[in-house]
Amino acid sequence: MLVLAGTVPFKGLPLKQGVARFDDDFAIGDNFALPAAELMHCTTAMIATATIACRALGTDPPYAVIAGCLGEGDGSKLVYRFLAEQAEALQPKVLTLHYILPIRLAAEKFIESLRHWKNKPILIADAGGMYVMKPAGFAGDFDLMTPDPGEMAFLADPDAIHPAYVRHFISEVDLTAIPRLIKEAYEHHNAPRVLLVKGNTDYIVRDGEIVATVSEPDIPAMECIGGTGDTITGLVSALAYAGYDLVEAALYASRINRIAGLLTNPTPATRIAEIIRHIPAAIEQVLKGVEYVAA
């Protein structure tokens, strides 16, 4: 089972769990639905993308676990508690943690529980999942994280407790910065087994070594569009669940995301829901080895 967990911006929404669906609407189980056009960047964009990708890859759809949290922490605590007390029963093959308020004690309970699971899943973290696990010293428990350049600086800095605190931001022309930060993150044991660093150039890293980069097609407007990182996380989760090696999954996820952007022909005002619509065609192009075919 592919289990995707995180918070959604609906105040007071209790924990909801179930199989995710994406047709005209996006739905989780029988009691949470959202019109596809209203998908915002965050956990819902990630789950919707993974659902589409699972269908294209011929696997069963993901199982989603969400709770409403506007930042006050209530819904985040519900998700952490589920992970610590109930997630093992789902026997996940892949488990992805996404938007969530960083609450160190709650994260510690989850990781402590996880270390006693009979079968450890492939663990993926992005967003708040990454923000809470690294300062708590648990990045090494994860198999894959998907930081952007600023978040890479956060992983590299042993004292940073949140990406907001990183002293120096990455210069857009400093091509040496990302490899240096990758090296530092592994030196300080603040990195998972595999990294997919999202940026103008995507870096795919295994055990500290850059094994691939992806720079084309380059679509600068995508940096402005909230959710383009969430779609990558959904894609890499689905690919890992389909059995792709994590490096291969990261490489395909990077390419598929860029092709979906190309097919959308976006501006900085494009919404993520428009890009998600092009993901099935992008998956088909990439997995069939087709070179870029624009819309």
């Binding site: 930042g71 960083p102 383009t228």
Partner: protein
């Protein structure tokens, strides 16, 4: 390595349970004329998503009184020997033709230079970010709610800084 400075006992840190309270305190104390800086609290008192205020220890009593008058809850005041002075308001602007992106830390606010409408919010990972995006996108800068009035996290804090820079640029016609 982050720069840390030894300041003896001339400075102090005000600790808050919620980033939301720190944001409110920063705004209120600055308006009251105090020189303060938002900084990371020391590791031994961190719980997750934290933000403290660096103050001049000589005005500690006045600041505590002011916070009580403003009804802003705070945990207490400590006098650490080492302070982590990473800045939280490093801002950068990126021109995309008809659109301008303002980045602060890990958060980005993108607006249409022709209309002043916020078209996208990008970055961040705390659980209040999607709500900030939903509340800001599609609204004119001058009419949108400030992120600090809705958010709870450090992502909201940096989003607020980016939003205010974008608003300043728009209001001054520097687009």
């Amino acid at each position: 390595m982050p720069k840390k400075e030894e300041r003896g006992k001339k400075i102090a840190l005000v600790l808050f349970e919620l980033v939301q309270d720190t944001m409110a305190a920063e705004e209120a104390l600055k308006r009251a004329g105090y020189e303060i800086q938002a900084v990371a609290p020391p590791p031994e008192v961190r719980v997750g998503c934290d933000l403290a205020l660096l103050i001049d220890a000589t005005v500690q009593v006045g600041i505590e009184r002011a916070l009580r008058e403003f009804a802003i809850p705070f945990i207490g005041v400590i006098f650490p020997k080492m302070i982590d002075l990473r800045p939280l308001d490093v801002l950068k602007e990126f021109d995309y033709g008809n659109w301008l992106m303002v980045r602060c830390g890990n958060m980005k606010v993108i607006f249409d230079k022709r209309t002043g409408v916020i078209v996208n919010i990008s970055g961040g990972g705390c659980s209040d970010v999607p709500n900030l995006a939903r509340s800001l996108m599609g609204k004119k800068l001058a009419e949108a709610p400030a992120p600090r009035t809705m958010g709870y996290s450090l992502c909201a804090y940096t989003c607020d800084k980016a939003y205010h820079r974008a608003l300043e640029i728009w209001q001054q016609g520097r687009v």
